[in-house]
Amino acid sequence: MRSLLVIAAIVVGGFLVIHAGKGVAAKDPPPHGHSGSTAVSLNTMQTYRSITVSPTAVNCGHYKRGNYPNRSKGAMGFPWGTCQVGDRVKGKDPIKITYNGMQGYVYVHAGWAMPNGNNVGTPWHPCASAGHRAVACTGKKGMPGYNQYTVRNFSPESAVPTQLTGNNVCDVNFRPAGGCYASRGNSQREGLYLTGPSKIPGTDTAQSWTAWVIWTAEPQSIREPKS
């Protein structure tokens, strides 16, 4: 009995020694000495990489397509109604994207279109008419399925609109030559074409939706030269 208690006391003592050693506080830093000083102001280069999009939201207009009775000039019709932000043919590109800071690239992707307010609605996922199966449109002839939509962006720099998906890709409309390379102060004006889903589920009550398009300032690869 006594021997067991002795063993326990030794083990506890050992642990106390081990853990007490960790709790030793660092020494206080040496006190500051007396010194004179003067303030020097200077400017430095911007060390941020930033992107600015103006305006913050745009309305979709020029509604077209859809089949009677699901067709209107004031709302997106079904199936596959379209609307547009700006007009590529008329040179109207209402969205201004401005890159600033250290050089990099401008990438772009689309987000889910969500019903506004507290209305019930199946979110629409951005899809691609061609390309990767994971984001492919599931409707007829590469058109959006019942819970999908397509977004295409355009700019005066590009000959044809470019389809966007949820994957972040180089925005060739920002700067077709040299990929989507961007440096301090570069800006571009762009517009959007949207195509809606094949149908709306009967359980959906939403009549107003908001789609998302997000531009991202991407850094250069670590292997790419820094100028």
Partner: protein, 211 residues
């Protein structure tokens, strides 16, 4: 005459207000910036380790107060293993920033015990998405910087030591319990538990009760 005077006084103020208000409404923008320097871990991370990464600076580059969040995404231009988003935990889920204001956000790297060794490369993206509009398209902005670190093939140096310490603690507790039991038995102390005999009735087939 008085009306003309009043209009003459108010007109410049109204015009000035309109000139200030209209361009602000027209030029409202959403924007975000992030430090250009990569977030780079000095040294290597070990499987099973949680390390504080260097904090990342973000700035609201837009004209409105915005909520900015930081997420990890694959670097779209490739290179290295992509960092699983769950490995990086920002100190705050999102920050509210006034226009032209910046803040540093702390980041923790949580490397799981089964992490594959090698060089990891991803984006740390600051995203600002503004307020949803009535309808149409909402426009968002993101700014990315690189996140780089290496994971070593072996666990952290202190990993086995912590396992050793925990095992010793478990052993100590067992020894103490054994000592207490032994001491109780040797002292002749007995804890007597008496069970009270209770007789319960049983229901008969007519639904009545009898003892």
């Amino acid at each position: 005459m008085h009306l003309r005077g009043l209009l003459g006084t108010l007109a410049p103020a109204v015009l000035a207000g309109a000139l200030v208000a209209v361009p602000q409404a027209a030029q409202a923008s959403v924007g975000v910036g992030i430090q250009a320097d990569p977030v780079r871990l000095s040294g290597v991370a070990h499987p099973g380790q949680t390390i504080a990464l260097p904090s990342v600076s973000v700035v609201n580059a837009g004209t409105q107060r915005e909520s900015i969040r930081v997420v990890v995404r694959p670097y779209p231009r490739g290179g290295g293993r992509p960092v699983p988003p769950s490995w990086v935990r920002p100190g705050v889920p999102s920050v509210q920033l006034a226009p032209r204001h910046a803040i540093r956000i702390s980041l923790d790297l949580v490397v799981p015990a089964d992490a594959k060794p090698g060089a990891y490369l991803s984006d740390i993206v600051a995203i600002v998405s503004g307020q949803p509009s009535a309808s149409g398209a909402n426009l968002g902005a993101g700014a990315a910087t690189l996140l780089e670190f290496r994971v070593a093939p072996d666990p952290a140096p202190g990993f086995w030591w912590s396992v050793f310490i925990q095992s010793l603690w478990a052993l100590l507790i067992v020894i103490l319990l054994a000592a207490v039991v032994f001491a109780v038995r040797r002292s002749g102390l007995r804890v007597r538990v008496e069970r009270e005999a209770v007789s319960y009735g049983t229901a008969d087939e007519y639904g009545g009760w009898h003892a």
